[in-house]
Symmetry: C2
Subunit: 334 residues, 2 copies
């Protein structure tokens, strides 16, 4: 299952509105098929793995990170039906699909066909890998990761604005990997104008990942929507031909098509807006072992009335170190 | 040696100007004597351990965290002479005593008497345990620990000043233990007036530890010295009968008698003053998994001209977690 989850991560950020599923098929202790949801959402992970396994799927064990879908789509058959046809002896799954079109019916169809089903294996890691799809299903909006890169005292720049660099090259490379795992990246007007970030993925082999680029700017959105009266207005900004979708408020991410994982990159105003709206599910806190003192804070007003309101919201779920810079990952407790 | 270092910690904060040494004597695989420098600096660790070992010291191995002293004092004989008289077969030491009255002569005297000497065992942990004495010897001033307790975004209070509590009871208890390990605790005028901290050690069994209390206040020091023209003026402040020594500048800690370990507790002004003067050797960073946003920063202006100056100063040497609050310990790289 851990291998299936690792495979599912390969699709993350490119499968919305479909879940990024992973699948491993094992026969007599050997892997005979591997698959993950392909960019655009099809084929599904099970279809890829079953095609690879061919006749070997008969009597095998299929590990899937999400309950196989029970609904036929215009673009392919239901994975539950594909499995029933391939006749593995057993299907092991992490999570039940919350999509009402499946929601247990995938498992039921397998069991009805005489295939043994085990559920609930490695639920938490699978939930993290498919956080976008699951958040969309449960909260009706994309999963939001906020990235902060600060000094030990929570600063992101000197008073002059100098911010290159707080963290080292290893941490910055990992931040690029996180871009590759998002459907869309969001910055604020200040960050856009000061840094004109390319918001691309500058990692060998991942250069073709091009998450959508979002700009949160109330004034800009007002100006844009005067010309094009739409909730969300696409427009071109600056050089390099980079198109940005302009949002006027954090909750407009809800309406974005094919966007289940949003990475909020900064600056402090944008971070504060999303935190104040309680729209951050995951916090990537890159930290450099430096003290800055007087400087620009990573976040501003998030609407906290008293200290007790701050407690109990965040749980540390992972830590890593890049070069000398620790990364802490927190998740919003809900 | 690790056991000897652990014993040495028992004296930390109460032996200045003497080093807080630890000693363990082992004979045929059994511990026959243990000692640590006693409050006030005498008896020395070796004297305590040798007294406990008695005749068993003959042919034993003595582990000491610092080279045994070679100089007679008014209050007792040199430890090197005590060891030569007790005739252990071997002495294992962590660090050479930088005190010019010993500085290798302790080891030489042991070797001249036919006792085998091994040096340089567990140097770094021993150095940390006796940081006060060693800093006094090498830099001519006390060793300074700065304690900060912040949110993930580096804040120590809401805009209103509300700061109780950022960290939980376990982290706060550990901070009290750190008080017990200091000769003196220092706060600024703002912290004194806002919190009237007792600056005592509220831990079972350690209530008798009473580090000296220091107050850094330029204006207060000026007022006090007008009445008593001394560099450092002792005076009484507030209720509770607590006496504070008032300093007008961070570097006045150099002149404090019997003070080799200073714990700087806050607030932001005091922290910034010590950091700007490059007088912080060790940083205790207690962090709560909360975000505050707008609020009071842990440190203010520390005189940083550009970002490159911030890098390379601090090395993470230890991490622990108290309840849900991580503690990171950094040391100044010199």
């Amino acid at each position: 299952m851990a291998a299936a989850i690792a495979l599912s991560e390969r699709g993350r950020g490119r499968t919305a509105p479909n879940p990024n599923v992973g699948c491993v098929i094992v026969k007599h202790g050997r892997v005979v098929g591997r698959g993950w949801t392909q960019p655009g959402g099809r084929p599904h992970a099970e279809a890829v793995a079953l095609e690879q396994a061919g006749a070997s799927a008969l009597g095998a064990t299929a590990y899937v990170t999400l309950e196989p879908c029970a609904h036929h789509g215009a673009r392919g058959p239901a994975c539950a039906d594909l499995l029933v046809a391939a006749r593995p002896a057993r299907v092991v799954a992490a999570i039940t699909d919350p999509d009402p079109r499946t929601a247990g019916q995938g498992f039921a169809r397998l069991r009805a066909a005489g295939i043994a089903v085990t559920e609930g294996i490695l639920v938490e890691p699978a939930r993290r890998a498919m956080a976008g799809f699951l958040t969309r299903q449960t909260l009706g909006r994309p999963h939001v990761t906020l990235k902060l890169a600060t000094s030990l005292d929570g600063k992101i720049a000197l008073p002059s604005g100098e911010s290159r660099w707080i963290t080292g090259p290893e941490a910055r490379a990992h931040a690029h990997l996180e871009r590759a795992r998002a459907d869309a990246i969001l910055v604020g007007r200040g960050t856009h104008d000061a840094d004109t970030p390319r918001l691309d993925v500058r990692l060998p082999g991942l250069e073709d990942r091009a998450p959508a680029r979002l700009l949160l700017s109330r004034s800009f959105a007002a100006q844009a929507s005067a010309e094009h009266p739409a909730l969300i207005t696409e427009m071109l900004l600056g050089g390099g031909g980079g198109g940005y979708l302009v949002l006027s408020a954090p909750d407009q991410i809800t309406a974005l098509p094919r966007t289940d994982h949003v990475l909020v990159e900064g600056g402090a105003g944008v971070a504060s807006s999303f935190l104040a709206a309680d729209l951050v599910d995951r916090l990537l806190l890159y930290r450099a072992p430096i003290l800055i003192g007087e400087g620009r804070a990573a976040i501003g007003d998030i609407g906290l009335g008293q200290l007790s309101e701050a407690h109990g919201r965040w749980a540390l779920t992972d830590t890593r170190t890049f070069g000398i810079d620790p990364l802490e990952i927190y998740e919003r407790r809900r």
